[in-house]
């Protein structure tokens, strides 16, 4: 089974967050913070436990960090509370996700069906920079064409890829041995 807390810290640290664990809660809590965002990541043993206890757990965590929140200024608006578990069936997972629509106190991210690192990465996307960085390199077009045009006379291919006009290329094709 995936260690959600550890994997989360890996991802968040890779994204530039400071992370640390706070052992004082009823469930494992990972604290994280960067220049504009801070938050708490709670890992529950089951989806049912998450759905039953998330308010209480959030209350406890925020209470413990009340002083920090009060001193955070505008950053207090950017606090996240994550409630994560694995193994929930789809119905329960949907119920857990609806926690996110509760905008009180924190921005919430809730998942009950985490199975893989990809699931976790998808869940943490709101906290992460853009992960996909498409690299569209040179297509090495001429080399590709040369390889594909083995049935066409070399002289014609060279003329086509060079500065010869289309009519010159056609003439070379006709005159080719």
């Amino acid at each position: 089974m995936m260690d959600i807390a550890t994997q989360s810290e890996v991802l968040l640290r890779s994204a530039g967050y400071e992370t640390w664990t706070w052992p004082g809660g009823s469930v494992p809590v990972v604290c994280f913070e960067n220049a504009s965002v801070a938050g708490f990541l709670h890992v529950f043993g089951s989806g049912e436990g998450l759905l039953a206890d998330w308010r209480q757990v959030q209350q406890a965590t925020l209470g413990r960090h009340a002083a920090a929140l009060r001193s955070a200024g505008a950053k207090a608006w950017n606090f996240y509370a994550l409630f994560l578990a694995s193994g929930s069936d789809p119905v329960l997972a949907r119920q857990i996700e609806r926690i996110e629509e509760d905008f009180s106190m924190t921005r919430k991210i809730a998942r009950g069906d985490l199975r893989t690192a990809a699931d976790l990465r998808r869940t943490l996307l709101p906290l992460l920079p853009v992960l996909s960085a498409p690299t569209i390199g040179g297509a090495d077009y001429r080399a590709r064409l040369r390889a594909r045009l083995s049935d066409v006379p070399d002289a014609a291919v060279a003329a086509f890829l060079g500065v010869a006009s289309a009519s010159d290329v056609a003439r070379i094709l006709v005159d080719a041995p």
């Binding site: 913070e33 950053k75 996909s132 289309a166 056609a170």
Partner: protein, 687 residues
């Protein structure tokens, strides 16, 4: 390259000179409807391209968008221009100013050089830059989900940049077109060569047939001697002359035949005229004619006598009528002075009356001879006409006999003259058999001449066959060469097709590969924006060879264009447009401008969008976002990252007195407090 500042004056809704400095990290522009938020985006685009591409129509009621680019409200701006400034990471920068009076101070190529990677930029690069950097409310769906699949493909293809090098696809098409043109010409030349060869072969076979008839040339030449002059002419000329002479002789033979016919006809006529029956008939006709003449004379005398009698009878009747009138008149007048009023003779009354009665009695007793005279005249006339008719008939008979004799004489004379003209014996005029024999002999001679001519022509054909065979060989070689060239050109066309197909396929493959490269990005952005709670991924599909289609699919192959609500379509569309924006390897401008992107999007998804913008900012993008809602502006300012090295800024816009939009407040966004929770951690650790 990032947006540094924007300065504008007299542009659309901004009458007064305004300067908007953009935060290197982000800029939030806030204001209600109509205060100029979109105009700031328009100004950037207009400065770069000279156009504003957001309007579906650019003309209405004889006015165009160009008529509304510059200030048209109250008052006179001090100037009409827009200036957009850019700043690179190394601190260097440039600015483009476009004024109403002088246009842009930088040309498009120079601007492209600053914002695009040389060699990789697409066609109409600046338009593509703006279209993929400035995401406007009204275009979010229209430029993404609501595009046709071909338009969507073109948008992505253009955003992904040009495939390196010149436009090989167009060149390949031109090569194919040129090769096909050469093929058509070669095919035409081949068909013409084959047609010439076929015609020559036909000519050769016909000439060979003639040559087969070749015989004894010496005998044939000898037979021509009597017909044409022998010396000084080649064989062809002699044959031609013989043909001409032969035609003349054939004509003469025909005329001789007609003379023979005339001889036979004249002989038959002569036999008739000289025969006893003809003579007896002729004499009888003469006698009858003489008798008829006498009869006519007699009939004429009788007719004249009848006519004289009728005249007399008519005169007598006229006298009797006059007497009757006189008697009646005398009766009416009566005696006058005892004298008869008619004769003046002295008479008594009784005598007078007696005289009148006697006169009346004599007149009454008188019998008129006119009817009889008329009947006699009619009979005499009939007899005369009958006699005259007989006379005409007998005279005609006499004339026929005389004509026959005259015709015989004339034809004999003409025949003799014809024989003389043809240098024939005059005795032949009386010997049709001898003349027929002469005609037959001439016909036989002409047949021999014809055969001789044919023989000589055949001998000529033998020589011509050799020439024609050589000609056919030359034409065959020519046709073979044309066929070889056609085959080569066909091969060339096949190669050109291969070239064309390969270029297109390679282009398509490169685009497919590039799309495959950006697919994870599209999906990541889609997952971040989460338009739909169930369908967490979005896939694309490409089809078509010449015309390419880019379709988007969610769930079990569903088209989001048709299954998403308007808000969901905008969210999915934003994912698509942002992925396109981030996938431009050719563009060095790192600014993303969004004009009111949250219309129709619920708060939950608006929050997702803000998080996405934050993620984009953390990935190196400068974010410029215009919103109407102040709360959303505050959220953006909090959630986007303002750092000392790349601070954020907020501009609030409103309308000012006197008309025109204005930046009413500009605020630098302070960086968030760092290490808020970290202090708690430190405290915990210390505790």
């Amino acid at each position: 390259m990032r947006l540094d500042y924007l300065e504008l004056c007299g542009f659309r809704g901004f009458r007064e000179r305004q300067r908007v400095d953009f935060g290197p990290g982000f800029t939030v522009i806030c204001g209600r409807n109509g205060v100029g938020k979109s105009t700031l985006c328009d100004a950037v685009e207009f400065a770069l391209t000279g156009q504003i591409d957001k309007y579906l129509v650019d003309k209405a009621a004889k006015e165009s968008l160009d008529d509304y680019v510059w200030w048209r409200g109250e008052g006179q701006p001090e100037a009409h221009f827009v200036t957009v400034g850019f700043r690179a990471d190394d601190g260097s920068g440039f600015a483009v100013t476009r004024s109403r009076e002088t246009g842009a101070d930088w040309d498009a190529a120079r601007i492209e050089a600053m914002l695009c990677v040389p060699g990789a930029k697409p066609e109409r690069a600046l338009q593509q830059v703006c279209r993929t950097s400035i995401i406007r409310d009204e275009w979010i769906a229209a430029l993404s989900l609501d595009l046709t699949e071909t338009q969507r493909f073109e948008l992505v293809r253009a955003a992904l940049g040009a495939i390196e090098g010149p436009d090989y696809a167009a060149k390949a098409r031109e090569v194919l077109s040129a090769a096909e043109g050469t093929h058509n010409a070669a095919a035409h030349a081949y068909e013409e060569a084959r047609a010439r060869l076929t015609a020559a072969l036909t000519d050769l076979e016909e000439t060979r047939d003639v040559a087969l008839k070749a015989g004894d040339i010496a005998a044939a030449l000898s037979s021509l001697d009597g017909l044409t002059a022998a010396g000084g002419q080649d064989l062809g000329s002699r044959v031609a002359a013989a043909r001409q002479a032969l035609a003349g002789r054939r004509l003469g033979l025909g005329e001789m035949g007609r003379v023979a016919d005339e001889v036979r006809a004249v002989s038959a006529l002569r036999d008739t005229v000289a025969g006893p029956e003809f003579r007896a008939s002729r004499d009888a006709a003469a006698v009858a004619a003489a008798e008829a003449e006498v009869a006519v004379r007699e009939a004429r005398h009788a007719l004249e006598a009848a006519e004289a009698r009728l005249r007399r009878e008519q005169e007598t009747d006229a006298l009797a009528a006059s007497l009757a009138i006189l008697v009646d008149h005398g009766s009416r007048v009566g005696l006058h002075d005892d004298r008869c009023p008619l004769c003046r003779a002295p008479q008594g009354a009784s005598e007078f009356e007696t005289g009148l009665a006697a006169a009346r009695e004599r007149l009454a007793a008188r019998h008129s001879g006119v009817p009889e005279a008329r009947a006699e005249l009619a009979a005499a006339r009939t007899r005369h006409e009958a006699a005259a008719e007989i006379l005409r008939e007998t005279e005609a008979a006499v004339l026929r006999f005389a004509s026959a004799e005259a015709e015989l004489s004339a034809r004999e004379e003409a025949l003799s003259a014809e024989l003389v003209r043809r240098s024939l014996d005059g005795k032949l005029a009386h010997d049709a058999g001898a003349l027929d024999a002469a005609v037959q002999a001439e016909r036989s001679r002409l047949i021999d001449l014809e055969r001789s001519i044919l023989t000589l022509e055949a001998s000529q054909a033998v020589e011509r066959v050799t020439d024609l065979e050589a000609h056919v060989e030359a034409l065959r070689a020519e046709a073979d060469a044309a066929g070889d060239r056609l085959a080569r050109v066909r091969t060339a066309v096949t190669a050109a097709r291969t070239l064309d197909r390969t270029v297109r396929r390679t282009n398509a493959e490169i685009i497919d590969e590039r799309l495959a490269v950006i697919s994870p990005l599209l999906n990541e952005l889609y997952q971040r924006l989460r338009p739909h709670s169930e369908w967490r991924t979005i896939d694309y599909g490409i089809r078509g060879d010449v015309k390419r289609f880019l379709s988007l699919r969610v769930g079990n192959g569903l088209n989001p264009q048709f299954v998403f609500s308007s808000g969901q379509r905008r969210a999915a569309g934003l994912a698509f447009l942002l992925s396109v924006h981030l996938s431009r390897p050719w563009c060095t401008w790192r600014t993303l401008m969004l004009d009111d992107p949250v219309q129709h999007i619920d708060d939950f998804r608006a929050l997702h969008l803000v998080e996405v913008l934050s993620a984009l900012q953390r990935s190196g993008r400068q974010i410029v976002c215009a919103v109407e809602d102040p709360s959303l502006a505050e959220l953006l300012c909090r959630r986007l990252i303002s750092e000392p090295a790349a601070p954020g800024r907020r501009h609030d816009l409103d309308l000012v007195s006197g008309g025109g939009a204005s930046v009413t407040r500009s605020t630098d966004i302070a960086p968030a407090i760092a290490g808020v929770l970290g202090r708690t951690r430190d405290l915990s650790a210390a505790g």
